[in-house]
Structure formats: structure tokens, C-alpha cells
């Protein structure tokens, strides 16, 4: 049987959601403030790592409702797609564009395609963490009966 610490468990659950929100914030804010897809992915990955330490593999994998290997696939597709789509307009690859809107509540919002590229990086990092956990972490948990 895996020993579960109530204090660790509760703390991780409290921190976990905040960490995920922080990671997504970092992803979107990263173009203008400290952060970015890689760092955001690492924060989310670290949060998942904590979840693993506290609750075991199944709890960590349950964070994402799809197969872990799907995340890097989608991420790489996003990144490559963003890199290539300027070719459609005969622009050099990875030539980013900015879209600006004026939204009622949020004010001026700008989104560059660089952020989509970064989202691909984010997904790849999170997926890598999940795949490593999945690959290296299953044996002991099966013996422990999934917590």
C-alpha cells in the first residue's frame, strides 16, 4: 500500500490549480513579460510532478483526459503549422502576424501567431513530462494497486 500524507495531499490539491492557471498565464503573457511556452509548460509539468508524488501515477495521468502522447503530437503540429502557414501567402516561414481586437470588457487584445507557436511548445513540454512519468513510473504503482 502506498502511504498517503493528508497534509501533502491537501497542499498539492490547493497548489495544483493555481499552478496550472499560472502556467497558462505565463504562456499568454510570455510575449511581453517573463514567461513563455517553455516556462509555462515546465510550471504545469512541475505541478503534475507534484501531483504524482502525492497521489501516484494514475492521479497524475488523470490531469489530462487524453493519451499523454497526443499532447506532443498536437503541439508539434501547431508549431509546424504556425511556422509554415506564412508560405501560403508567399511570406518567409515563421513570419508572425498580429491580430488586434477591441473587446467590450477586456479592452484592446492583441494575439500574435507567435503565441500559437508557443502554445505548441507548451503542449510538448507538458506531454514530455506526462510521457516520462508514464514510462518510468508505472511499475511500483501497479504493485500498490493504484493507491
Amino acid at each position: 500500500m502506498r502511504l498517503r500524507s493528508v497534509i501533502l495531499d491537501t497542499t498539492v490539491r490547493l497548489v495544483f490549480d493555481a499552478a496550472l492557471v499560472l502556467s497558462v498565464y505565463m504562456l499568454f503573457a510570455g510575449h511581453n513579460q517573463p514567461g513563455g511556452g517553455f516556462v509555462g509548460g515546465l510550471v504545469a509539468g512541475a505541478a503534475i510532478g507534484l501531483r504524482y508524488v502525492a497521489g501516484g501515477l494514475d492521479e497524475a495521468l488523470a490531469v489530462v483526459p487524453v493519451r499523454p502522447s497526443l499532447l506532443p503530437a498536437v503541439g508539434l503540429a501547431l508549431a509546424v503549422g504556425t511556422a509554415l502557414w506564412p508560405r501560403a501567402g508567399d511570406e518567409p516561414p515563421l513570419d508572425h502576424r498580429v491580430f488586434e481586437w477591441h473587446l467590450p470588457a477586456l479592452g484592446d487584445v492583441a494575439l500574435t501567431t507567435a503565441t500559437i507557436f508557443d502554445a505548441g511548445v507548451y503542449l510538448i513540454v507538458v506531454g514530455l513530462v506526462l510521457m516520462v512519468l508514464d514510462g518510468l513510473g508505472d511499475e511500483g504503482d501497479e504493485e500498490a494497486g493504484g493507491g
Partner: protein, 775 residues
């Protein structure tokens, strides 16, 4: 249009593969579209090509590297195309009857179409690099064809043999072609031949190219793959021997010889190898009881003949080569088809077991066999006779050295006549050839007319070309003229009583005598047989390479992690140090303390690092390493690099988690069986690496001579990248391509980790439901 011709081959192959379950025998008709299209194109352009004009096509590929896809068809290429596409179309028609309507047969049709396309590519390529690609495509497709019966280990081994030998030669050829192209300043074959370079580098390049041509055309000592390739279905063999693959080497030699025969060792090398191949192949062809084997050695011999004729690089010999190229293609394809029919209908091609092929249905088959064998033996008035007359004529009138070559060719031709007779006799009079008459296969019904028709067409062509030399004299003349402007052909049956005619008669007589004395000759051959066969040499070579590789691997990959780490670290420390100390490099020590916060952070770093090396428990060591990492992150914060610090924090956290995962599989404590020396070595390595890193860091930081590139990046970040975070703009925009490459590596690493971790374990049960997870 030339590109379209190649495209049709590929498209028809794709269509056959896509419909392999539905097409049945129609697969062969679809597959034949490529060769038929080439024939139609040739007919449409015949007048232009005959007028000495060349048809060219060009597609730019990479402009900056001057890479372009150049295609060119001149009269010689047209002659080759007649062979490749003409025999190709007939082989498709023949194979339609040979194979049953199975998916594997459809696969054969598809690969055969690709093979024909690749061979067409070799012939129409005008850029040596394009030629190389097509050349290797013929190797790959022939590999697939030879190994068509992939559940037969012998077929797989033979296919691999062919691939290894020809691909190895192909690599040598690639090196030679690149060298040649650099010497000439052009990679276009037509320009290369028009203005040939010379000198030592060119001579070396030519030898390399010749190695490629020799392996492809099964010249001694690289011949052994061709007899092994006999395991392929007979239609494949017919095509491979008569028109494709082995003719590629001959083609290249023919292209280059007029310009390069006088450079370096070309002429002695080519003539020696060709003659040796012609005679040795002919001798070997006298021995086998397998009809296909007999023909295979016959092909080797005839290829040697072709290599000699083209390789000499003299106009008259080139004319003879062109004539023999066509004549050989016709009779060899016909003979293989005959063997295939016999094999298909009687179930054997062993001359000791063949039944009498009696009955009216077999008459056509026997006639084709006789015509083909007679043309091979150069009996008048057949195409083979005209070609050999030209060859003799070219050498009789030549300078003194040609006499020796002539003697070799006459010897080879005597052998050719003898094995041709042996082939014909084996089919017509069972029991004449082969010592002990074993149990004969039962007499079988005659083959259907459609099965025999392609062979009959080829035999008829052999007769017509022989009786009416005017029908192809122009074709050969144009082809030879395209290779060598001095060459002019005038084929004729009767030149009067000349030395070549007398030689021909003597050759035939000697051949008949040799066949008549077959028993003593066979005994002599058995007694004088070389102790090792080519295949044994090949096997030994492969074994040797594998053993050598295993030994080398055992030396450089002993499996000791400390050794690997030590070698890598020392290399990383020593190699740059050599470069470092060779210049004015030491900028002086920087300030000891740049910021008050450095002192406590540095202290933490040092303590954590030292403590991690002396920790007894693995877990403690990992935690201490984590301390070092977090202290680094604090250092980044102090230096004003929040992005870097964030990344360092994230990486460090994950690092610790992953380490914990690995730790579960390792013992709790470090082992303490190390000797004192071992510890000292480790300490030494660590000290060297540590000292190097420090010195290199100081030297690198103080050695700046140029304006830092980061300044321009900071300025451009907002106007160009629309971001205020310079680090992020660099990552996603300025060097976005690098990031793209890095994340690709990351994905590959993730897949690798999972594969390694899962190796040897049963797949994880994916069917677990969330409820089970929660329980």
C-alpha cells in the same frame, strides 16, 4: 515530356499497388504503361533523334546550389530506351502469363514498373547526380524483385547480396562522380563528356566510377551477385539480364569511354576486367545443369564483352558495342523467356531432369531457343553474328595491342559458342547434356500461345535484324555517332572473305569442337576449379565485416557508464583547452564579488555541490543537486534574468521528480566497493573538468571582439516581433527555426524515453476506467 515519361512509370506502379487485390492479371497491363509510353514517345521523336538532335528537359531544383534535374535523350540514349522499354513491354506481356493473379504478383508488377522507370531514369539523366539517384533506385527495386519470394531465406540472402555489392559499388561511383564533377566544374554529363578534365584526380575519379559500373554489370571480381539473383522469378531475370540493371554499368562506360579512355588507367583496367569476365564467365557457363544458371554466367561473359568493346573507347569498337548491346538484349531476353516457359510447364529447369519437349505446341518454343542460342553463338545470318563481325572487324584493323584483346575476345567467343550449343542441345535432345540421367519430369502439355508470343517476337526480331542489316544499321550508326562523333556504322551480312569472317568460322568450329569434347572438358574443369567461389568470397567478406564491427564495438562500447562519462568529460575539457591556450586568451580575473547577494548564494552552491558528492544515500544526493539548481536560479534572479530563473526553477523541479522515479529502481545507498585509485581518478577527472569550465567561462566572457548581437535583438523585439519580452521574441521569432528543431528533438526524446522504459515490459493496460483509477 521526359519528366512525364518517368512520372507515368511511378503512377502506374502506384495504381497497381493500390489495386493489387482487384486488378488480377490486368496489373501487368497497367504496369506496362510506362514502357509503352516510352516507345510511343520514341516513335514520335525518331526523326529528330536520328538527325543527331538531342531532346532535353530541365527543372531547377535548388538554385543556390546549382542543383537541377537535367534530362537528355540523344541517339545512344534512344537505343538504350528501345531496349529498356521494348523488352520491358514484352516482359510485362510475358509475366502476365507467368504469374497467377495473386497480390504478390501485383506487387511484382508494381516494382517491375518502378524498376523500368528507374532504368529509364539512368538512361535519360544528364546530371551525374540524377543518374546516381536513378542508379541506386535500380539497385533498390532489383533488391525487391530478387527477394520477391520473401518467405524464402535463399531469396532474401540473394537479394541482400545483390544490394550490398551494387550499393557498395554505387557509393564508390558517387565519390567518383562528385570528384569528376568538381574537376570539370559541371555535373552535366553532356558537358562533362564534351570537355573532359584530366589529371590525377580525374584518373582516381574514373577508377571509382568504374568500380560502380563493374559491380552493377557483374564484372569479375564483383560478379557473384548475378548468379545468385537467379532466385528471382524468370520474367524479372529476363529483364534484369537483357535490358535493365546490368546494362546500366555498360551504359555508363559507353558514355564516358570516348572522352576518358586515354586518361589514367582506364583502358588497361577496363579491357583487363572485361576480358577476364568474358572468359571466366564463359568457362563457368559450361558447367551448371540449371539452365538459368547457365544463362546467368553467359550474361556475365557477354557483359564482359560489352565492357571491352565500349571501354576501349575507339569509334569502330563503339559501333560494335552498340550493335552487340541490341543483339544481346534480344537473344538473352528470348532465351530467359524460354527457360521460364519450360520451368513453368514442366516444373524443372535442370537439364538432367527435363522431359522431351515434343509436340506441335512446343515447336515455337524450340524454334525460339534455337534462334536465340544461335544468335548468342553468332551464327549467320542472325543479329548476334552481325554484332560479332563488327567487333572482330574493329579489332583486326587496330594497333598492335588490339591483337591481344582480339585473342581474348575470340577465346571468349569460342566459349560462348560452346555454351550456346550446350543450351540448345539440352532443350532439344534431353540426355545429351548431363552425366547421369536421373528421373525425368513427366512430359507436359504445351504452353499457351500467348505465353510464347513475346519470346517469338524477340526471336523474329533477331532473324529480321540479321537478314536485313539495313533495318538497324541507321539506329546503330546514330547511337555510336552520338557517343563518338568519329564513329560510323555500316552493318552488312557480307563484307567479302575477310579476316573477321574467317575468325567467325574458326570460332564456331572451335565452339562445336569444345562442345563435342564436353566430357573431358568437364573433367578438366572439375579438376582445375578454383578453390573458392565468388559467393564464398562474398560470404567471408560479410562475416569479416560483422566480426570486425563486433570487435570494434566491444572496444569502444564496453558498457561502463563511468568510462563513458570520463571519456566524454575529458574530451570536452581537453579539446577546447588546446584551442584556448594557442592564442592570446586570458583576459584577467573578473571582480571577485559583483553583487552583495552573490556571497550567500555562492556559498550555498558550493556547499550543495560538495555535499552531493559525499552523500551516502542516493536520495540525499539528488536533493542536494536540487539545492545547487535552485541556488543557480536565485543567482539568475540576482543578475536580472527572470526568464532564465523561471526556466531553471521549472527544470530543477522536474529534474528532481524524474530522478526520484529513477531512484526507485536503484539501491538506496551508493555502493562503496571503489578502490582508492578509482576515487583518485574520479577526483582528478572532476578537478580537470571543473577547472576547465571555470577558465573557459572567464576566457569566453572576456574575449568579446564584436558588437553583441543581443543589442540589435533588443531593439528589434518590439517593432519586428511585437513583444516586449526579448527572450521570448528571440525564442519564437528571431530564432524560431532553432526552437522548432529543438522541440522536435524534445518529442523524439520523449518517444525514446518511453520506448526505452517500456522495453521488455508488457504494455500498460489502457482499458482502466476512471472509476478504477479512483478506487
Amino acid at each position: 515530356m521526359l519528366f512525364a515519361l518517368l512520372g507515368i512509370h511511378a503512377a502506374s506502379a502506384a495504381a497497381v499497388l493500390a489495386g493489387r487485390r482487384r486488378l488480377g492479371r490486368a496489373a501487368w497491363l497497367v504496369g506496362a504503361l510506362g514502357p509503352v509510353a516510352v516507345l510511343v514517345w520514341l516513335a514520335a521523336n525518331a526523326a529528330r533523334l536520328a538527325g543527331g538532335e538531342a531532346v532535353e528537359a530541365r527543372a531547377e531544383w535548388v538554385r543556390g546550389l546549382a542543383l537541377s534535374l537535367d534530362l537528355r535523350v540523344d541517339a545512344f540514349a534512344a537505343l538504350m530506351l528501345v531496349l529498356v522499354a521494348g523488352i520491358g513491354a514484352l516482359v510485362f506481356a510475358y509475366a502476365r502469363r507467368y504469374f497467377g493473379p495473386t497480390p504478390r504478383a501485383a506487387r511484382a508488377a508494381a516494382v517491375l514498373a518502378l524498376f523500368a522507370g528507374a532504368m529509364t531514369g539512368v538512361v535519360v539523366a544528364d546530371n551525374v547526380l540524377v543518374l546516381y539517384v536513378a542508379w541506386e533506385l535500380t539497385s533498390v527495386t532489383s533488391y525487391l524483385l530478387i527477394g520477391l519470394n520473401d518467405d524464402d531465406a535463399g531469396a532474401r540472402a540473394a537479394a541482400q547480396h545483390a544490394l550490398l555489392v551494387t550499393a557498395l559499388g554505387g557509393l564508390a561511383m558517387l565519390a567518383g562522380l562528385v570528384l569528376l564533377g568538381q574537376q570539370a566544374g559541371t555535373f552535366r554529363l553532356s558537358e562533362l563528356v564534351a570537355a573532359p578534365p584530366s589529371g590525377t584526380a580525374t584518373a582516381v575519379a574514373l577508377v571509382l566510377v568504374l568500380v560502380g559500373a563493374f559491380t552493377k554489370s557483374a564484372q569479375y571480381p564483383f560478379h557473384s551477385w548475378l548468379p545468385g539473383a537467379m532466385v528471382a522469378p524468370t520474367p524479372v531475370s529476363a529483364y534484369l539480364h537483357a535490358a535493365a540493371m546490368v546494362k546500366a554499368g555498360v551504359y555508363l562506360i559507353a558514355r564516358l569511354a570516348p572522352s576518358f579512355a586515354d586518361v589514367g588507367v582506364w583502358r588497361p583496367l577496363v579491357v583487363t576486367v572485361g576480358l577476364a569476365t568474358m572468359v571466366a564467365g564463359g568457362l563457368r557457363a559450361l558447367r551448371p545443369f540449371d539452365l538459368k544458371q547457365l544463362l546467368a554466367f553467359g550474361t556475365i561473359s557477354q557483359l564482359g564483352f560489352l565492357v571491352v568493346l565500349f571501354g576501349i573507347g575507339r569509334p569502330e569498337a563503339t559501333v560494335a558495342g552498340c550493335a552487340l548491346l541490341l543483339a544481346h538484349g534480344l537473344f538473352k531476353a528470348a532465351l530467359f523467356m524460354v527457360v521460364g516457359i519450360v520451368d513453368h510447364e514442366t516444373g524443372t529447369r535442370d537439364v538432367r531432369r527435363l522431359p522431351a519437349l515434343a509436340g506441335p505446341g512446343w515447336r515455337a518454343v524450340r524454334a525460339v531457343a534455337v534462334v536465340g542460342a544461335a544468335s548468342m553463338a553468332a551464327v549467320p545470318p542472325l543479329a548476334g553474328f552481325l554484332a560479332k563481325e563488327e567487333a572482330y572487324g574493329a579489332l583486326v584493323d587496330g594497333p598492335g595491342g588490339d591483337r591481344l584483346v582480339l585473342a581474348g575476345i575470340v577465346a571468349g567467343s569460342v566459349l560462348t559458342a560452346a555454351y550456346s550449343l550446350r543450351f540448345a542441345a539440352a532443350l532439344l535432345r534431353p540426355g545429351v547434356v548431363g552425366g547421369d540421367p536421373g528421373p525425368r519430369a513427366p512430359a507436359s502439355h504445351a504452353p499457351p500461345a500467348g505465353f510464347v508470343a513475346p519470346a517469338v517476337v524477340l526471336a523474329a526480331a533477331t532473324v529480321v535484324l540479321g537478314i536485313a542489316p539495313a533495318t538497324w544499321s541507321g539506329l546503330v550508326d546514330d547511337a555510336a555517332h552520338a557517343l563518338d562523333p568519329r564513329a560510323h556504322a555500316h552493318l552488312a551480312l557480307w563484307h567479302g572473305v575477310t579476316a573477321p569472317l574467317l575468325l567467325s568460322v574458326a570460332t564456331l568450329a572451335a565452339g562445336v569442337a569444345l562442345f563435342a569434347a564436353r566430357r573431358p572438358v568437364a573433367a578438366l574443369q572439375a579438376a582445375a576449379a578454383p578453390p573458392v567461389s565468388g559467393t564464398q568470397v562474398y560470404d567471408a567478406a560479410v562475416r569479416g565485416v560483422l566480426r570486425g564491427a563486433a570487435r570494434l564495438t566491444a572496444v569502444v562500447q564496453p558498457g561502463s557508464l563511468p568510462l563513458y562519462a570520463g571519456v566524454i568529460l575529458l574530451t570536452a575539457a581537453v579539446a577546447p583547452t588546446v584551442a584556448l591556450v594557442s592564442g592570446a586568451w586570458w583576459p584577467g580575473w573578473p571582480d571577485a564579488v559583483g553583487h552583495p547577494a552573490h556571497v550567500p548564494v555562492a556559498a550555498l552552491l558550493v556547499v550543495g555541490a560538495v555535499a552531493s558528492t559525499v552523500a551516502r544515500r542516493r536520495f540525499a544526493a539528488v536533493m542536494l543537486l536540487g539545492v545547487v539548481g535552485y541556488a543557480m536560479a536565485v543567482l539568475f534572479v540576482v543578475q536580472g534574468a527572470p526568464d532564465l530563473a523561471l526556466t531553471q526553477f521549472g527544470v530543477e523541479t522536474l529534474f528532481v521528480v524524474v530522478f526520484l522515479l529513477v531512484l526507485r529502481r536503484l539501491p538506496d545507498r551508493f555502493e562503496h566497493r571503489r578502490t582508492r585509485t578509482g576515487r583518485l581518478v574520479r577526483l582528478g577527472v572532476s578537478a580537470v573538468v571543473g577547472a576547465f569550465v571555470m577558465v573557459a567561462a572567464v576566457a569566453a566572457a572576456g574575449s568579446r571582439t564584436a558588437e553583441p548581437v543581443s543589442r540589435a535583438m533588443s531593439e528589434q523585439a518590439w517593432p519586428e516581433g511585437h513583444g516586449r519580452n526579448v527572450v521570448n521574441v528571440i525564442l519564437v521569432d528571431i530564432r524560431g527555426f532553432d526552437t522548432l528543431g529543438e522541440i522536435t528533438v524534445l518529442v523524439a526524446a520523449a518517444i525514446g524515453i518511453v520506448a526505452l522504459a517500456r522495453a521488455g515490459r508488457r504494455p500498460r493496460d489502457r482499458a482502466r476506467t476512471p472509476e478504477e483509477v479512483g478506487s
